[in-house]
């Protein structure tokens, strides 16, 4: 025996394996952050330095709230794993470029504390924290979160009609055209990180190269949106249009950076494909048939919730079990994968066709019903007319509406109010019996109030208000909703449209004893009273524009 000294003081014992890969949670999260840098860099270059402040503040809010929460709950501090940084960056890149900084900061706190930590921290949240926070902010601060206008930015490249800050998707939905090159480069309005497809794809390529993500979710997601849009977008296989749909609306950002979130996506390989297809269908539905032009965030959040179900039904067949047995096994495996894809595709197709069919079938009846309701309102205000002609049939009327809207926006005397339509009621011999104006006041307590106002000339030839009727109103029940009661709305009946050759102006009084040109306010609902009165004043203005022109 030789005298080699043994130094076996304290060997550590553990279950095999005794080796660990160098890939850690922290490295994966850092890679995701690195992959978002090109998009962030473009955002800063494109929208200005303010975007960087927004991002830094959001990330800081996320990291700090994680630290503070864990510190006070006596949990181990995990900010070093970089997951809060990822959440902060995703959230920030989803913000409009000129958002007041406190909004994303609030979102960051919500994301980390409410969505992530309260459910048990990293790995336990059932929704993507950044997206849940974005949707929370969208609901809470709808206007600020959807205002993509940037003061110093002329968006001439994509918005020839000059609608400032409308996102390309909104434009496409409204029937406009967008420039694909601008979309690829990112020369468009939108959130900080979603605009440049090229920058995003560079990041995505990095993630794929580092094997942080696989193509299963992004590819099935994007392809499904493509197929769905081709089927139901109404423009068929118009390649340019389809490419625009894919490049716009944060789909690339969502597919590669948000849908691939580990915690909230399925574990199983086939489940990931199904998940991508589900996201694609939901996004397509929201985009084409929903109220908003954008749908990626809501689609992913809904997909997150469906994830356990998807997982449950996509557990892979174990090696050597069932269909894999013996020699034909290899082809069985690929067939199985194909089958899943084919099945999900068929399900997508069928549900899509059903939804699209339902939409097409119900579209006409719904429009018909709306028209009937409108005509009933006209009939009530100016009865006995043979025909109602609106501004689409009469240039004089449309000019009057345009003039009035111009004056209204420029002067701002009646606040944010728009004349939608002006209708003439014509008798059998073609004589004008009266007018109906359709006006929306955007400053109701509960949002828009749309009313129609009727006018008939009396014996002296003076146009008098025949009453108002509400097309849409969503005010507080018991207060603002009382506008529909005769005590309030009948006050307008008989008021003249013009006084001394110019539009008559009504004002609201709280005295309770209204004078000649005054309207008694509803108690407790001054805002609604003002809104309705302003709408009537605008109607007066529109009618005067036609009538004045006639004289």
């Amino acid at each position: 025996m030789n005298n080699i000294e043994f130094t076996l003081e304290n060997p550590h014992v553990s279950s095999s394996p005794h080796a660990r890969t160098e890939v850690t949670t922290r490295r994966l999260m850092t890679d995701v952050c690195i992959a978002m840098l090109p998009a962030l860099a473009w955002g800063v270059y494109h929208f200005g330095l303010y975007s960087l402040y927004v991002t830094v503040a959001t990330v800081a809010a996320c990291v700090l709230s994680e630290y503070v929460f864990e510190y006070f709950m006596g949990k181990p501090i995990t900010v070093k794993d970089m997951s809060a940084v990822v959440t902060g960056m995703i959230l920030a890149l989803n913000m409009p470029p000129e958002i007041p900084i406190w909004i994303p900061v609030l979102g960051g706190i919500f994301a980390i504390i409410v969505v992530k930590q309260l459910y048990g921290g990293l790995g336990q949240n059932f929704m993507n924290p950044a997206l849940a926070a974005r949707c929370f902010l969208l609901i809470s601060f709808a206007k600020k979160m959807t205002d993509f206008s940037v003061e110093s930015m002329p968006w001439a490249t994509v918005t020839p009609d000059g609608v400032s800050g409308a996102t390309p998707l909104a434009l496409i939905k409204a029937g406009g055209e967008v420039d694909l090159t601008a979309l690829l480069v990112g020369n468009i309005p939108g959130t900080i990180g979603e605009v440049s497809v090229i920058a995003l794809l560079i990041g995505a390529a990095y993630l794929l190269w580092r094997k942080v993500i696989t193509l299963r979710i992004p590819l099935s997601y994007i392809l499904t949106v493509l197929v769905f849009t081709a089927l139901f977008g109404g423009r068929g296989f118009d390649v340019y249009y389809l490419l625009c749909e894919i490049c716009a609306g944060g789909l690339i950002f969502g597919a590669f950076f948000m849908a691939t979130d580990y915690v909230t996506g399925p574990l199983t390989p086939n489940g990931q494909i199904v998940y991508g297809v589900v996201l694609g269908i939901l996004t397509g539905l929201f985009r084409l048939f929903g109220g908003s032009a954008e749908g990626v965030s809501y689609a992913i959040i809904l997909g997150n919730v469906l994830c356990p179900l998807i997982e449950k039904y996509t557990v892979p067949t174990a090696f050597g079990k069932g269909k894999y047995l013996k020699s034909k096994a290899k082809s069985a495996e690929s067939k199985l994968n194909k089958m899943v894809v084919v099945k999900t595709f068929i399900i997508t197709l069928v549900s899509g066709v059903l939804l699209g069919g339902a939409y097409v079938i119900t579209k006409e009846p719904i429009a018909e019903a709306n028209r009937a309701a409108l005509y009933a309102a006209y009939e009530e205000l100016v009865p006995g007319a043979a025909e109602y002609k609106d501004m689409t049939e009469n240039k004089e009327l449309s000019d009057a509406v345009a003039d009035t809207n111009n004056t209204l926006t420029q002067s701002g005397v009646y606040g944010d109010v728009t004349v939608n339509n002006l209708v003439t009621a014509v008798d059998e011999s073609g004589n004008i019996m009266g007018y109906i104006a359709d006006v929306t006041d955007h400053e109701g307590y509960g949002g828009d109030i749309e009313i129609t106002v009727g006018y008939i000339a009396d014996e002296s030839g003076e146009l008098k208000n025949t009453g108002i009727s509400f097309l849409s109103i969503a005010e507080t029940a018991g207060l603002g909703m009382n506008a529909q009661n005769p005590e309030f709305k009948d006050q307008f009946t008989g008021k003249p449209a013009m006084a001394d050759g110019s539009p008559a102006v009504l004002s609201v009084t709280k005295s309770g004893s209204a004078g000649e040109n005054e309207i008694n306010a509803m108690s407790g609902a001054t805002i609604t009273s003002d809104a309705v009165t302003n709408a009537v004043n605008a109607a007066n203005m529109a009618v005067s524009a036609v009538e004045g022109g006639n004289e």
Binding site: I4, P11, P17, P316, F319, G320, K326, A329
Partner: protein
């Protein structure tokens, strides 16, 4: 053409450069040799010598019990000192025969006498393999003669020599291919004699290009043997994965490779078969790799089965720095040792000593559901779901998720970025399921036995009653006749 492989798996740091060029050196150590009676899968052998007996190298000291079992052969000459439970690599003591070597390594007569395999019948070959106490040398230790006895010899169309050596750091199979390649081919030819329709495939991972080249050269003239290069990936050498990579066939845990028309034997096992059949030498020696960054001279040594790891390590030069982790076997499937004073057994392959323990240095963090384990699992399982079932004690759920298909290869734990002890959890859950199955089987046996007794008792009572009735009527008839 892409190299043949299976789906999933991982590629851990190979670490083979440490010892791959160290030629096999012979190590005949003096002192005490320990022969556990269970070095294989199946029933433990029964000691067939007594304390104080003199034994020779090559003498049977443990008798196989039952069909799936294997004889234990002494590798040294000397005196049986004790028959008592001794510590094993797994940490549990096991009944062992302890032989004090006399240092002469005297063999039983006839050992080493060459004979021609061509003259032997299939039965003779199988008997020789059985008598030599050969078990799989790759790790599991399945008795080789059982493997060589499938239901239908004709149905075997692949006989695979496993030279993939996918376990990191291990180089013993590589050295054997480089130095004793002729014996491997000899062993393979003996096996092919048993299976007339089989094709011999020597499967080697492509991180051993020299071995591929060498073996290809050696089997140049052989019509029934070819070398197949496999992609370097862990666990390429797993039996089911290897069959899949070579033949494209799939088998599960309840099937035998023979069910897919394939038989797999490690290259070291083939050498043992050659030794047993041609050289009349039972399994007494084993090449193991002594390696790791804490080892002074990483080496490949041919040692006698039963030697202690401690003596082997000392004999090759010991450690150069403190070893934080000692592993019997490789880093992926080997067992951590807290004491080196355990014997080398038939499936032993290596002793690794590392200055750092990666497990200890990578504390567990929460699962982020990244699904890397799902993609890596060579058995296509979903580890996170299995963990959920196992940690909630839901054994049915664990079985429903095919938890019993897990072969504990460790790939999931290796790839886990959150360093979850997945494999460990599965090992425990699998043990619990197996215990449950055993308990249930025992309970069923007991119940059946009780039912049988009750039935018999009932029948006996019925019989007795009938007897009584018969007797009574007989008496009554006799009385009436009177």
């Amino acid at each position: 053409m892409s190299k043949a492989t299976f789906k999933g798996g991982a590629h851990p740091y190979e670490g083979k450069s440490l010892s791959e060029n160290a030629e096999i050196s012979l190590l005949d150590l003096p002192g005490e040799y320990v022969f556990p009676m269970s070095q294989h899968i199946g029933a433990p052998a029964k000691p067939c010598v007594n304390v104080g007996d003199n034994v020779l190298a090559g003498q049977k000291i443990g008798e196989a019990q039952g069909f799936i079992s294997a004889d234990v052969i002494s590798s040294v000459s000397g005196t049986v000192k004790k028959i008592e439970p001794r510590m094993q690599t797994g940490g549990q003591p096991q009944m062992s025969v302890v032989v004090e070597s006399d240092g002469r390594f005297e063999t039983v007569p006839g050992v080493g006498e060459e004979r021609s395999a061509a003259d032997l019948s299939k039965e003779e070959i199988r008997d020789l393999v059985k008598a030599a106490g050969i078990t799989g040398m790759g790790g599991a230790g399945f008795p080789t003669y059982v493997k060589l006895m499938p239901k239908d010899d004709e149905a075997i169309d692949y006989f695979i020599a496993n030279g993939s050596e996918c376990e990191p750091y291990l180089t013993s199979d590589y050295r054997l291919m480089m130095e004793e390649g002729e014996k491997i081919i000899g062993g393979l030819k003996i096996c092919l004699k048993l299976f007339p329709n089989a094709k011999g495939i020597i499967a080697i991972e492509d991180n051993k290009p020299k071995a591929i080249e060498h073996m290809t050269k050696l089997c140049a003239g052989e019509k029934r043997i070819e070398v197949k290069a496999l992609k370097t990936k862990y666990p390429e050498g797993g039996e089911r994965q290897l069959i899949n990579a070579v033949t494209g066939r799939y088998i599960n845990s309840s099937l035998l490779p023979a069910d897919a028309g394939a038989i797999v034997d490690n290259v070291a096992t083939l050498i043992a078969i050659y030794d047993a059949v041609v050289l009349n030498t039972p399994l007494m020696q084993k090449v193991i790799t002594v390696t790791g960054d804490a080892v002074k001279n990483p080496s490949n040594v041919k040692v006698r089965i039963g030697s202690s790891y401690k003596d082997i390590l000392q004999a090759v030069g010991g450690l150069k720095t403190e070893a934080r982790k000692l592993i019997c076997g490789g880093p992926m499937m080997g067992q951590a040792l807290f004491d080196l004073n355990v014997p080398v057994t038939k499936p032993s392959s290596a002793l690794c000593a590392f200055a750092h323990d990666e497990v200890e240095e990578n504390p567990t963090t929460p699962c982020i559901r990244c699904a890397r384990c799902v993609d890596a699992c060579p058995e296509f399982l979903v580890p996170p779901m299995m963990v959920r079932a196992a940690t909630h004690g839901d054994l049915e759920g664990f079985e429903a998720l095919n938890g019993m298909e897990c072969m504990e290869c460790g790939t999931c734990s290796y790839v886990c970025p959150a360093r979850r002890p997945l494999t460990q959890i599965f090992k425990q859950a699998r043990k619990m399921v197996m215990n449950k199955r055993r308990t249930e089987a025992a309970e069923k046996r007991q119940r059946d036995e009780l039912e049988r007794i009750a039935k018999e008792a009932g029948e006996a009572a019925k019989k007795a009653a009938l007897e009584e009735l018969y007797e009574a009527s007989k008496k009554a008839t006799a009385k009436a006749l009177k």
